[in-house]
């Protein structure tokens, strides 16, 4: 025991002589985001489970259909429809995951008192809040993208195998499917709409989760409902609800583009359309304001 503690004492002296390592802001951010993924495994497990279910369903369907339909055009249409369905369902899944993640992100650490541990480390409130905001705004869209593309690719392969099995040519199936363009359009849609266009929602939810002592979901919904009702009663208008609906619908132009995306992506999708709309930039400014408020609120908060 004595020699052991002597050795440790010596190593204490040695390590004190060494200059401390330099930790860059990027590194702190990287580990903070990894930390979020450790804590909230639903971020990647939920889309994977949904993708597995979809593939399972598709497998059964295509085995059944392999014997019946021989019409290639019809088969391709079904495949395209299924691909869109996959993308749509995975987007919905990760949106729900994102909403629940945000509501808990700055609330859970106060509830379980671990905020006292996180605050005992040299990580600023800004880094913490930004790392949490990056989950719905950056990480979830990228995970959705990867899961969707891989799922769609596996579906293509399954269809191809069924075709090969029935002795038909693959070329019509693969030629019309825009293999490169579709993922690009999907990535664009996910990053711009699901990441940045929806960012004000996530910012608001993070702010509420930093502030509310309990029932974060209610506190997030209540002001929205209240503003809608007051506006209706006071001015008999519904602008606030309309703005929210427009935002949630992905913004007129963007949503219609998203709808057409799978059909013939690069023709009808106007990539810069939404980027030059003022609403997009106003949304980002509002997000920044919400996040700045969340940083400030977290600074004052302790365990609840």
């Amino acid at each position: 025991m004595n020699t052991q503690s002597d050795a440790i004492l010596n190593s204490t002296v040695e390590s004190q002589a060494a200059a401390p390592a330099v930790i860059s802001a990027t590194q702190r951010m990287y580990w903070s985001v990894r930390r979020e993924l450790w804590e909230n495994r639903s971020i990647y497990i939920a889309p994977l489970v949904v993708a597995a279910l979809l593939l399972f369903g598709f497998l059964i369907a295509s085995l059944g259909r392999a014997l019946s339909t021989a019409n290639l055009d019809q088969r391709r249409a079904v495949l395209e429809e299924r691909s869109m369905f996959v993308a749509f369902l995975l987007m919905g899944t990760t949106f729900v995951v994102g909403v629940f993640y945000c509501l808990d992100a700055l609330h859970g650490e106060r509830r379980d008192r671990s905020i006292m541990f996180w605050k005992s480390l040299p990580v600023s409130d800004l880094t913490t809040v930004l790392s949490k905001a990056s989950i719905p705004i950056v990480v979830l869209p990228l995970i959705t993208f990867a899961t969707t593309v891989v799922t769609q690719f596996i579906m293509m392969m399954l269809s191809s195998m069924v075709l090969l099995g029935s002795g038909m040519s693959l070329s019509p199936l693969w030629a019309r499917s825009s293999l490169l363009l579709m993922p690009l359009a999907l990535l664009y849609h996910l990053v711009i709409i699901h990441g940045l266009w929806y960012a004000p929602f996530y910012g608001w939810l993070l702010l509420v989760s930093a502030w509310a002592r309990r029932a974060a979901f209610l506190w997030a919904a209540l002001p929205v409902v209240a503003i809608g009702i007051v506006e209706k009663l006071a001015f008999n208008t519904t602008h606030f609800v309309a703005v929210l609906g427009h935002r949630l619908g992905g913004g007129g132009e963007a949503s219609s583009a998203a709808g057409r995306m799978a059909m013939d992506p690069m023709l009808k999708l106007a990539p810069l359309g939404i980027l030059i709309s003022p609403g997009f930039w106003i949304g980002l400014a509002i997000t920044a304001a919400f996040l700045a408020a969340a940083v400030r609120v977290r600074r004052y908060q302790g365990p609840i």
Partner: protein
Amino acid sequence: MTVIEARGLRKAFGTTVALDGVDLRVEEGRILGLIGPNGAGKTTALNAILGLTPYQGQLSVLGRDPWNSRDQLMRDVCFIADVAVLPRWIRVSQALDYVAGIHPRFDRAKAEGFLAKTTICLTSKVRELSKGMVTQLHLALVMAIDARLLVLDEPTLGLDILYRKQFYDSLLNDYFDRSRTIVVTTHQVEEIQNVLTDVMFIDRGRIVFGCSMEEFESRYLEVTVHPEQVAAARALKPMQERQALGRSILLFDRADRQQLATFGDVRTPSLADLFVAVIGNQPGRAQGAAR
């Protein structure tokens, strides 16, 4: 070098005054015990020092303003707040990875060395560990950080006696040296009496007593007085008198040891007894708030 310097530190929650003009000065290499009854302002004082709560008055920790630069301050300051604040979902290995990833002064090998002496498994999650093991893990993380100031707020609350003893033993043997400073609050006064170099009593937001342990040992004497000499001993104006097993025990401040020896057995009092004497003598305060 002064590690903590506070002047006129004030903090109120609504109408409740938690800190009422605290003056405090802690030099490098000291182990200060901050002792006070519940609600005396210990935790509020520590939170102010750690930059977790805003305050009025002047406060400087390692030359920094804690409230405005908490994240920079935490490179040189560690703290264990209460017990079991480690997140329950984290794995021991993840905790090591994370702290190594973000803390410039963390020595992972050292932390693993401390953990190797416990029964904690690197793949365990915190929720699977016992309360004592969580404290061991937290201590291993903190002791592997080359910090200049360590703040402990009731670090052994709710632990059994083995873990409590072990906690302070490892702190003294494996961690403390003259270039580090430790501030600790606890209810278990008797446990840290031999650990401290300085002691302060805090009551209702004020520092009511403070001295070094050397001064404490030379200034305060406790005498178990023979019944027939009680009156003579009382004439020397003891700070406090209490009864134990039918004998009177008198506590004296700056009395002559030779003279006291004529009344009975003389010894150094426990911090707990001095605490009761000091806090109990405060106007409007009932006795017996030591634990």
